[in-house]
């Protein structure tokens, strides 16, 4: 056991924070303390969120909107209150720009489908182009492939540099006058790379293309300001930011949400329905068909409260310090190769690596036997694995409750893996 982390600055009081997370006390494999380093896949939820969920079902549960009874009024106030909280969290100009979905994937599909059915000037068709990047999560690839197949639009993408960054050297050739939409990830879930937004947005605006940002790995970890990003759409997901599963967010600029057609049809999203035709409610309701994930949204609101109580700036600083330490420690492990930036600058707290020719599945399994939970595989970003000629990686990812001691446990665990298969 190594204690190399004394003197790290910018860390949060994780001893206090960890008390909020019941699952972190869990022991696995006969008494091994859980070291949860799979936060890029999903985060854990604090007591404060779980209590809100239980209280909702025990006291206020009802369908939202339109009810005149007390429970319905309460449930509606809680649900719409969660929208206010999320709007503030991302500095949205208006609460009506916050659409609740079931996850980031639905949010991204929603954008792709709106543009496929839109009128000019937004319509994506066979004469237009869609731009993504080679480091996207499958959830920001497949919706665009489907849109491209269905409309005939051409799908283009930015490639990657050898050190795990976007290759923007051909910015003006990739984004052209034909481009209708540029959709890219703010922080990569596999490489950890934090992408430069400004250059891409500027070029997109130049040619009149819309910009969609996948902030699934950013919203949980740093202050997110949709106005500062200057994007048109921003998507993220609740379960990665201390919230429950089954809730996602799409933020979109108001004028766009007004102009663009609905996606799913059903209750809640209509203004008036007759058998022959229907008119739609204004956004955000236009895009929320059916009974929404009410408890999920309220739980996400509670997660936002929780994150705010710690402070997003502080969380970012904590993770930065931890990432810096982790990169340095991991590089000490023989045969370990980081896939992605080998630095803590402009990167998030997810670190992918290979360990000699030991297969990531074996690395993950032997770490698990020591209580250490990491993710192995292509992390829903297979093109990145293809790009770097590897079948898979092992990924450790940190959050506000992660500690330097957990980094040490990981490094010790990796030594054990090496000896085991050595």
């Amino acid at each position: 056991m190594t204690v190399a982390h004394q003197g790290l600055t910018g860390l949060l009081d994780t001893e206090a924070i960890r008390k909020d997370f019941p699952i972190l006390d869990r022991e696995i494999h006969d008494g091994k303390k859980l070291v949860y380093l799979d936060n890029a896949a999903t985060s854990q939820s604090p007591r404060q969120v779980l209590d809100v969920l239980t209280e909702y079902y025990e006291k206020h549960n009802a369908n939202v909107h339109r009810g005149v009874h007390v429970l319905a009024e309460e449930a509606t106030a809680l649900y719409e209150g969660a929208r206010d909280k999320v709007a503030e969290f991302i500095n949205a100009p208006s609460r009506d720009e916050v659409i609740f979905t079931k996850n980031a994937s639905e949010s991204l599909n929603l954008v792709a489908n709106m543009l496929g059915w839109a009128d000019e000037p937004y319509r994506v068709d066979h004469e237009t182009e869609i731009v993504i990047t080679e480091m996207e999560h499958h959830s920001n690839i497949v919706p665009w492939q489907l849109l491209s197949q269905r409309t005939g639009a051409k799908l283009k993408w930015f490639g990657l540099t050898d050190d795990g960054r976007l290759d923007l050297s051909n910015l003006n050739e990739v984004i052209t006058e034909k481009t209708k939409i540029v959709s890219f990830v703010l922080v990569s879930n596999i490489l950890g790379t934090h992408n430069p937004v400004e250059a891409i947005v500027r070029r997109a605006q130049e040619v009149g293309a819309l910009v969609c940002i996948d902030a699934s790995q950013a919203a949980p970890h740093m202050p997110l300001d949709v106005q500062a990003l200057q994007a048109d759409f921003v998507a993220f997901t609740g379960h990665k930011m201390c919230g429950p599963t089954g809730i996602g967010v799409l933020w979109g600029r108001q004028e766009l949400l007004e102009d663009l057609p609905p996606f799913l049809g059903g209750g809640e999203m209509i203004e008036t329905v007759s058998m022959n035709s229907s008119t739609y409610a204004p956004a955000p309701h236009k895009f929320e068909a059916g009974t929404p994930p009410i408890a999920g949204a309220i739980g996400l609101g509670a997660a936002v409260d929780y994150l705010n109580s710690i402070g997003m700036e502080k969380i970012a600083r904590h993770e930065h310090a931890l990432t810096e330490y982790a990169v340095q420690r991991l590089l000490e492990v023989p045969d370990l190769k980081i896939i992605g930036p080998v630095t803590a600058e402009d990167r998030g707290a997810a670190i992918s690596f290979t360990l000699g020719d030991i297969h990531p599945h074996d690395v993950g399994q032997v770490l698990d036997e020591q209580g250490i939970a990491v993710r192995v595989g292509h992390h829903c970003a297979r093109p990145v694995c293809l790009r770097y000629g590897i079948p898979a990686t092992t990924r450790a990812s940190f959050y506000l409750y992660s500690t330097p001691a957990e980094v040490d446990a990981l490094v010790d665990g990796l030594e054990h893996v090496r000896n085991f298969f050595g």
Partner: protein, 152 residues
């Protein structure tokens, strides 16, 4: 929320029925099906009449009656001020306790303070007021058009 004043207006509405006017609008509250057809008649900048016909809940019906009682005979500026105060009250989520000044302005309409606690009903209370605002804009727009036409 059902103050006697409200029930009174509901059961004995003021100025109900459609009469001659400068503009007519039809407003619907899609969530509950409340409907109102409303006409305004101006005498210069003075409200000569607000006539209406509609169906809906007691709140929307009483609110139209109160509006008629409150606005007919007023100058437009004064009526707008009254509407602003009423809007403020209705959007207060039950947090405004009407004071004397407000009571003086709103008269019977202060009885709707309790309704503001019920988001689902606020729209009912505002239906006729929104219709009035809309009809007024139309009437004055037309007036201006007419004025232009006359001076042309």
């Amino acid at each position: 929320m059902y103050q006697d004043v409200i029930l009174d207006h509901y059961k004995h509405p003021h100025g109900r029925g459609l009469r001659d006017g400068d503009a007519e609008v039809h407003h619907v509250n899609p969530t509950c099906g409340d409907e109102i057809t409303l006409r305004v008649k101006y005498d210069g900048s003075r409200i000569a009449d607000v006539s209406y016909e509609g169906q809906g809940c007691s709140i929307s019906q009483a609110s139209a009656s109160v509006l008629n009682e409150l606005l007919v005979g007023k100058e437009l500026d004064e009526a707008r001020r009254i509407q602003d105060v009423f809007l403020e009250l209705m959007q207060s989520k039950g947090k405004i306790e009407p004071d004397d000044a407000m009571e003086e302005t709103l008269e019977d309409a202060v009885a709707f303070a309790g309704v503001s606690k019920y988001p689902a009903r606020v729209k009912c209370a505002l239906l006729s007021w929104m219709a009035w605002k809309d009809a007024t804009a139309q009437a004055l727009g037309e007036d201006r058009d007419n004025a232009v036409r006359k001076t042309a």
